[in-house]
């Protein structure tokens, strides 16, 4: 049996390589299908891993408190974004025992200048706990202190990218920059963090939230506490996460006098990771399915050309039958040809995908992972397509009458 198949395979290779152009065109669909399936899966998995790493870099014990309800809720837009205020953050730090640190964040995109440099940067007002809560290091100088915050000192810590934009190779610490025409003293530069969820974390400036509220956004008054975009909270340990989440939830419901739906959302790092994971996972499946369709189309292409080939090779088929080939012999011959076409096309597709993925990974921050499982799957699917779509032409060939076949 093995010898029989091997002989059929070598005969098929002879036949197929006798007409290279046609064989190549026949394989095109399978090549493209396989290449895209594998590349899609590789890029998709790379993206998934990339996002995972991004979240890891934020810290694992971290919780985010956001104003408004969860974005998927129907009332999302009807709840004012001002529902979260600085007093909430301070109350959490004071009253929630499971919490290690709290960093309020109030951001705005503002004009920043130094010497002749002029740029727009996301300026975030926060407190001195930000680096420890967000797991962010300071590369040069230092972060601002509690005292500087209380004294409303105009000091700024630059994201690494922003430091580069404004100062180039010069040492920024000690320089005076202007944010919205207020003069700020640069006291530090953050360590590089990379991009996360479409935002470049290195393109940022951090200043005391007291200064942000009173001088830059100008909503500080004696009666209302300044509103926040988010509050980052670090739990004492990862075991304390759900306790912290529960306690924050209770505290804020009390403070906000909530009876029904929450006007805030507490999200853990884990949940965000899962959400992002499921979104990219869905994308991967979607892309793979789309490429799968092109595989199917490739299979139909093989069937099409094989049908043509059978009708062109009636003489050969008739002769083989005259020499003693059985129904099964002819069926196997043509099926093997289809499978070899599909497998060869599949392998070429895989080679293209691997090469493409490596190039893609070199050009983007994404890591592309060519998974062996995907390759095995693609080979299997290609073979199955050859088998499946080769059956009909092979059966047509096997059914030919030796007489009719020899006559034409």
């Amino acid at each position: 049996m093995a010898v029989y198949l091997a002989e059929n395979a070598s005969m098929a290779v002879r036949t197929l390589s006798a007409n290279k152009l046609r064989s190549g065109l026949t394989m095109l669909g399978i090549i493209i299908g396989n290449a895209s399936v594998i590349a899609m899966i590789a890029v998709g998995q790379g993206a998934q891993q990339f996002i995972g790493k991004q979240f890891q870099s934020l810290g694992t014990n971290i919780l985010f408190v956001l104003p408004g309800i969860a974005p998927e809720g129907p009332l999302a837009s009807s709840i004012p974004a001002e529902s979260l205020v600085l007093d909430d953050a301070e109350a959490m730090a004071r009253e929630v025992p499971a919490i290690a640190g709290v960093a309020p964040e109030k951001s705005d995109r503002l004009r920043v200048t130094w010497a002749d440099k002029d740029t727009q940067v996301d300026v975030t007002g926060t407190n001195s706990e930000y680096p420890s809560v967000r797991n962010a290091g300071v590369a040069k100088g230092r972060f601002f202190s509690m005292l500087e915050l209380q004294q409303h000192q105009r000091v700024a810590v630059l994201g690494s990218e922003t430091a580069r934009t404004l100062f180039g190779d010069r040492y920024p610490v000690g320089a005076k920059i202007r944010i919205r025409n207020y003069s700020f003293r640069v006291i530090g530069v953050m360590a590089e963090k990379g991009a996360s969820m479409g935002m470049n974390q290195d393109e940022a400036i951090f200043i005391p939230i007291s200064v942000m509220a009173s001088q830059l956004t100008g909503e500080d008054n004696a009666y209302t506490s300044p509103s926040l975009q988010s509050i980052s909270v670090s739990a004492k340990s990862s075991e304390n996460m759900s306790a912290a989440q529960f306690q924050i939830n209770n505290l804020l419901r009390l403070r906000h006098n909530v009876k029904g739906e929450n006007d805030f959302t507490v999200r853990s790092q884990q949940e965000l990771l899962q959400t992002a994971d499921s979104i990219t996972g869905m994308l991967v499946v979607l892309m793979a399915a789309t490429s799968g369709i092109s595989l199917l189309v490739g299979g139909i292409g093989i069937m099409n050309i094989m049908l043509v080939s059978v009708s062109e090779r009636t003489q050969e088929i008739g002769l083989r039958k005259a020499l003693g080939a059985t129904h099964k012999d002819i069926q196997v011959q043509f099926t093997v040809e289809a499978v070899i076409l599909a497998l060869t096309g599949g392998s070429i597709g895989i080679a293209i995908a691997v090469a493409g993925t490596v190039i893609f990974a070199a050009l983007t921050p994404l890591e592309a992972i060519v998974s062996p499982v995907a390759i095995l799957l693609a080979v299997g699917v290609s073979g199955a397509i050859g088998l499946g779509f080769g059956v009909l032409p092979a059966r047509n060939a096997a059914r030919l009458d030796p007489i009719i076949a020899l006559r034409s």
């Binding site: 029989y4 002989e7 002879r14 036949t15 006798a18 003489q315 050969e316 002769l319 083989r320 039958k321 005259a322 020499l323 003693g324 080939a325 059985t326 129904h327 099964k328 012999d329 009458d401 030796p402 007489i403 020899l406």
Partner: protein, 252 residues
């Protein structure tokens, strides 16, 4: 009944098509061929010679009648059983050679043994021997398009005899060749017959038929005379030279 009987046809008829389009290609043919005979089938165009050859070659089944090959009834066998008989017991030579262009002479000759499932080494030895018999030992690795018509036909003969058939069937084997090359082919057939091979050959050429012991004359789907010697045939064709060709033209 001879112990050396190879072929016995009893009341074989063959019709193509149906209804108004029905063509009766063979009408109640009887024929007996013994081991070692060298027969030529002759007759006007459309008289049913090729149809008879296809039935003899188990490439087609008769519409009615019985066909015994070595006393085995083969007219009602299954496709796969017929394939087995074609492979082991029969050899074919066609007018258009029918070699596979992507294969060498050697590989073409090995083809029937592939279907017989012989081990590769034996195939190779046997194919080399068969090519030797037809005088092509120098051309084994040539492809058909590197060979002359006569050489291609010799490859086809080697392929037909490589499984040591009991009967060699040739439908106008020299029809596509010039007379000198035809002579070479006839010499091969003659030497095969000298070594005991039973041969049935269709030909239009009396010079070719003259080399056979026995001439079978077809006309309008029947056998008019099934055992003429070349001398008798000369007489016969002189007598019917007015009728035989005329019959052919009206038939067409």
């Amino acid at each position: 009944m001879s112990a050396l009987e190879i072929i016995r046809l009893e009341q074989i008829s063959k019709h193509y098509g149906q209804g108004d389009l029905e063509v009766l290609a063979l009408h109640k043919i009887n024929l007996l061929v013994n081991q070692g005979e060298y027969c030529a089938i002759m007759g006007p165009s459309g008289s049913g010679k090729s149809t008879a050859m296809q039935i003899l070659g188990c490439l087609d089944r008769p519409s009615t009648g019985r066909y015994y090959l070595q006393r085995q009834a083969v007219d009602s066998l299954h496709d796969d059983e017929l394939a087995y008989i074609r492979n082991r017991k029969l050899g074919f030579v066609f007018q258009q050679f029918h070699l596979l262009p992507q294969l060498t002479a050697m590989e073409n000759v090995m083809l029937p043994m592939t279907y017989a499932g012989l081990p590769h080494k034996e195939r190779h030895e046997r194919a080399a021997y068969a090519l030797n018999q037809v005088g092509l030992e120098q051309r084994m690795s040539y492809r058909p398009n590197q060979l002359s018509g006569g050489q291609q036909q010799r490859v086809a003969i080697a392929r037909a005899i490589v499984n040591q058939p009991i009967l060699l069937l040739a439908d106008e084997p020299t029809g596509a060749l010039d007379s000198r090359t035809s002579q070479e082919i006839m010499n091969i057939f003659q030497s095969l017959n000298d070594r005991g091979m039973t041969i049935i050959m269709v030909t239009h050429d009396f010079e070719t038929a003259r080399l056979c012991q026995r001439i079978i004359w077809f006309q309008d789907g029947t056998i008019i005379n099934n055992a003429l010697t070349p001398e008798e045939f000369r007489e016969f064709s002189r007598g019917s030279s007015r009728t035989a060709p005329t019959a052919a033209t009206t038939h067409l």
